[in-house]
Symmetry: C2
Subunit: 488 residues, 2 copies
Amino acid sequence: MLENALKNRNSHIDYKEKARALRERLSVLQLKIRDARLPVIIVFEGWGASGKGSMIAEVIKYLDPRFFKVSSTMPASEEERRYPMMKRFWDSIPEYGKISVLDRSWYRELALARMEEGISKDEYKRRISSVGGFERMLSDDGYLIIKFFLHISKSEQKKRFDKLRDNEETDWRYSETDKKRHKHYDEYYDAFDDMLERTDLPCSPWNVIDTEDKAYSRFKVLEIITDKINEALEGKAPKAQSAVEYPLLCMSRLGDIPLSGKIVSPEEYPERLKAAQKELSKLHNRLYMKKIPMLICFEGWDAAGKGGAIKRIASALDPRGYEAVPVSAPDKTELNHHYLWRFWKHVPKSGHIAIFDRTWYGRVMVEKIEGFTPVSRCNEAFAEINEFERELTDSGAIVLKFWLQIDKDEQLRRFTDRQNTPEKQWKITDEDWRNREKWELYEKAVDEMIEKTSTAYAPWTVVEANDKLYARLKVLETVIAAIKDRTE
Amino acid sequence: MLENALKNRNSHIDYKEKARALRERLSVLQLKIRDARLPVIIVFEGWGASGKGSMIAEVIKYLDPRFFKVSSTMPASEEERRYPMMKRFWDSIPEYGKISVLDRSWYRELALARMEEGISKDEYKRRISSVGGFERMLSDDGYLIIKFFLHISKSEQKKRFDKLRDNEETDWRYSETDKKRHKHYDEYYDAFDDMLERTDLPCSPWNVIDTEDKAYSRFKVLEIITDKINEALEGKAPKAQSAVEYPLLCMSRLGDIPLSGKIVSPEEYPERLKAAQKELSKLHNRLYMKKIPMLICFEGWDAAGKGGAIKRIASALDPRGYEAVPVSAPDKTELNHHYLWRFWKHVPKSGHIAIFDRTWYGRVMVEKIEGFTPVSRCNEAFAEINEFERELTDSGAIVLKFWLQIDKDEQLRRFTDRQNTPEKQWKITDEDWRNREKWELYEKAVDEMIEKTSTAYAPWTVVEANDKLYARLKVLETVIAAIKDRTE
């Protein structure tokens, strides 16, 4: 792609003047972006000394600083490396209606990492696919991603580095890394070119701009930005390619799962619980040593016993090595971001466990049934969630998902018990009763959810939970088996 | 304090059984904590092998994992060191109604840093005072802070280390650092003792527990925790000492500040603006080189021109080196924390600038006047904010605060203009008109705010802003002077 970099072709045009007009246009568009709640991500990648910094300054010159943010992407810190690669980028996606301008981005983990950090060919490909998933997912949610690669020739780069070095005020900006990269310009050229080819997606294509002519390249960047924003505001933004489809496991419908007979006698329970917890405790240590992160996710009917099951897991774990994440309705800030944003924040680091009490699956249950999100958008979540979980498992995590299944009579018994027991009354709300009235709707939604998101890498386990003791042991034993499977 | 560590005194008591009863009590208290929205921070510090990990496991054994969180404090990363020391601890304070258990805490930046990182005596004292301010501020807001130091003798430590080392499963936990610290036990003893003395605050006293007898020490820790929580729930928690009083600058009342005559002609403006921006741009580079962080804070009447002034600063800065922070009403999550929590998140790192469009001073203006927070609590904010800003400047930051002052007639002119200009209508809301009706109340509040929070280290600058051009230049020139003052 680099050989086709956009270059100045007409020397009779005053590009400086045209750029000024576009900057004014952009400052008007910014208000429209805010009103339309359109989130915009503008990525600047490119060669050293290709002028990323001054280009960014040009772009934002007339913008209201309250509605955009510029971030520089540094190499990941040691701590950041303990998380899936995309976590830090997910954490900092812009709110709806705001612009985020990136001086380098997730792309520094591709070509540069390949050249300088010795990542394997496979790892490189995996990263390409992570980036693709990330950009597709954001695009599907209406994020506009505009990507620029600023290109200069080897001789032009040399000229610019020389100029930097010869000036006392700027010589500190010319680093050993720059020197090394310049020396191996041709190899970097191939690496960049390969990266650009592989990540030139329909929803987020690359714009390669030759910056040898400053005025023209600035004009061109501004033109592309304003054009793309206009397109997006008119609803003509390019759509993401359909996500990869992952093979699904064959699952029973909730109604076909027998609950009776799945019991554990109160006599044998304490012993079995103790044994399971002891084993889990040992295995947690092994997870830690092997630096494997794990997500244990709970969904289930109200009063199905999620809290009790979580407690039995948690109390077997080293408290410094896990986090319990209670999920409730999203707040204002969370609603201003992609719905997975708030969950990415709690993705565990290597060797740690995150236990989710309710999860991202709210998207295809409560949000869909109560109409908080349009049904068509909710339905896209099946593929998105499969991709999200794939990203987690690809980066080494174990992902377990439990659906705690009780029947309607058992729920009534528990609701009534909660209502009649003073210490338990806080656990039961009017909303629980209202949800109960929609049992059939929810059952249908859950069936669909389990059918469409039981992948081999992140399977659902339906837990027969009419008997609490049985359910707790089944959960514990499933967790134990999963860890053993990965660490033995 | 170490020599008075609490020890087992009665060998006839079954402390194990008593501890079990207390744990049950604690699990009931947890629900009361949630209902009373009481935030609890439990700190565990102590010697290596003093049993912090297993003590924490004991404490949380019966707790519901959805209402507490255990965190281990690691040495600050390189990135974290670019911020004021307390930032990472502020970022992770618990929500109201939740418990946070810390395996090491901000105290690792005191005695350990003094022993191992060669911080100066002055820096050590500064850190002591930072920690004091932090704990006082949280206590004032109703946070309950319970601090434990787990103590063991040198011989007991040796015994425990030997046991760790001799077991294949645990020998990896005995590190070189442990070895070194054990060797210099006596020096560490003095350092810990000094730290404990200096940070034994009325609002957050130390509990030093000798853990040689496991059963007794566990019982004792649980007893202290349940007692303290009970006290706090009954409103009998110890109060913070009054904060340090900082000398204040003498400031004029808003009504006494002449606005007329403070004008800049449209002819001279462009030239002066350009010159100022050019200088600021150069100085930003100098800030960056000298690793000085800076906060530029804007408050002022609606339509006083905050946005315009911010834009003139921002467009002179390297976009990678600043963040504009628009502040609006706090969301649900933010309301569940100390009011300064959301601002700590945006405290800039070394060499960076944060520009706040409205600030923490909302506490003593809108929150007070609209009754969102009890007046008595709002009034405590003057001292708290002085302390907060002191913490920032002590850690090297420049803090500038601008009040943009216009008169009531000028505001009416601007409101009317906004209403009559389609592109500006979004800037004017019903709330603006309602606030205008309370002009006199606000003026009184602002006078008090400026009087009580104009410290020498973080002074207010009242900007005569009836003339926008004058105001923008005065702001720019004040910023320039402040940076020069620190970097020349």
